[in-house]
Amino acid sequence: MLAYKIVMVGDFGVGKTSLVKRFVENSFSEEYLSTIGVSISKKNLQNSTIMLWDIEGHTEFKPIFKQYLLGAKGFIVVADITRKNTIESIQKHIELCHGVVKDAPICIALNKSDLISKNSESEIADLHSISDSIVNILKTSAKENDAVNEIFGSLDKFIVDSLGK
């Protein structure tokens, strides 16, 4: 069974841990408990095993520790769809990921989609232009379990397919 590492990257409070909990345990909590350091979870899929590194989010006074990104086969960059500044940080996060793992595939999760009524499709198209390595961009909701499996699934499929070649 192929086992590989995926790192969740994003600003603090965007819902990285919630997405991991929803994907791995199918659970959700409204309470915000900021992740400090890193927590690693394992998720067995049909053709692979993913080690999900849920790392501490970027804050103004504490940048992401690059070492955590070492050896990742892909990244999920997460932003809070209700906080514009976290969406604006996506490019910076992608640059950080590619600084450690060149051209690694990336999926972008625009999380907390349950809190908004709509989001412009043109904004998503704009995000695609950030990098050629972006595999998928989805509006996700860990709370409503919306597009969570899809975002992890699409990255897994891309990685499994590319490693199988």
Partner: protein, 412 residues
Amino acid sequence: MQNITRLICAKNKISYIVFDKEFKILDYNNTIESIADDISSLSIGSDIRKVMYELVGIEENLLALLNNTAKENIIHFPMILKMDEYYDLDIETFISSKGEKLFIAYIIQKPKESLSYISMLKEINKKTLLYETQDKKSKEQHFDLINQKLLSFNVDMDGVITLINNAFTLFFDLSSKEIVGKHFSKFFKARDLNLNANSTVIFNAINTKGEVISFHANIIPVTENDIAHENIIICQDITYLKQIEKELEFAAGHDSLTGLPNRSRLLSKMDETIEKCEKERLSFSICFIDLDKFKPVNDNYGHHAGDMLLKHIAKVLSDFVRKGDMVARIGGDEFIILFDSLSDENYIKSMKTRLYELPPKHPLTYSQDDLIEFGFSIGLASYPQDAITSPELLKLADKAMYYSKRKRKTKN
């Protein structure tokens, strides 16, 4: 691995695990059991990646460490959370007693003192997130409130609505489908149906309660290559301004004590009546009324009683006249009645008589024991018999009143 290293690890509660380039576990101490991700896989010879998930994915980095091609001679992962405890993971290489280069991973539990630092970080992040989301919410609420008050919509160059905001649907209690595609005049009444770009216009619309609401609308053109193809209309509710305008207009034309029209309003009304009578060959009369015994009321009872009396007379006269007539107060104790379309001499005389009868019938009840009596001195003038302008008519009526007063004084 040397015994001294084992002793140091045991003394400092450091877990360690030794593995080779095939990632096979060669040695470990007992404390590793409490932090292994999969304890069932923990045995000599098993794959370390099944025991410690941190090592999955970093195989190339480990081999670079082994081959001395890595930038650093250690791989360091700090602050790994396992079972509510934080650990640092350091992976290094060493030469075994057999001369083989092996890996050793040290897992060092963070001291309890570091927990207060973690709690502080968590608290800061929590507060920052709360601030950011609350700030956003308050901004949203701010704009929602504005949006509720400002109706805005887009119209094409023919005045057909193409886009509306929430305030529009809320105001008319209609869905977007029921509004978009219709001409704006279906919803707003304006003097001019042409919406000129960069201009303003006053709209009236009826809300769901049936009230007429006035809007001040700005027309902003949407241009493409300098050609306007649409207009954005932003409407601000100015009903309260209209109300103020009405109140000011009323105040300008009325006596603040009695609420009756004042001299200015009376003269306007007389001018309008003269114009009408001139056209239709009609006539009308005015009656100048001056109060008798008004000064003693002020002197004996005070000015508040004088004010009460004036208000009382205003009511008595207003109740006396017909619909269409006007009672005005033009001075301290001077009232005018404009009898619309009335100039028959006999009828006017009878009205005059009835007017004289009013004061004794309607004294002011000042208190249980005090009735304030008053009297009228009356002078009449008619259009067009006596005069054909408002000031002249007033002057003549005043003069007639003065003679009447003097005559009655002489008689008494």
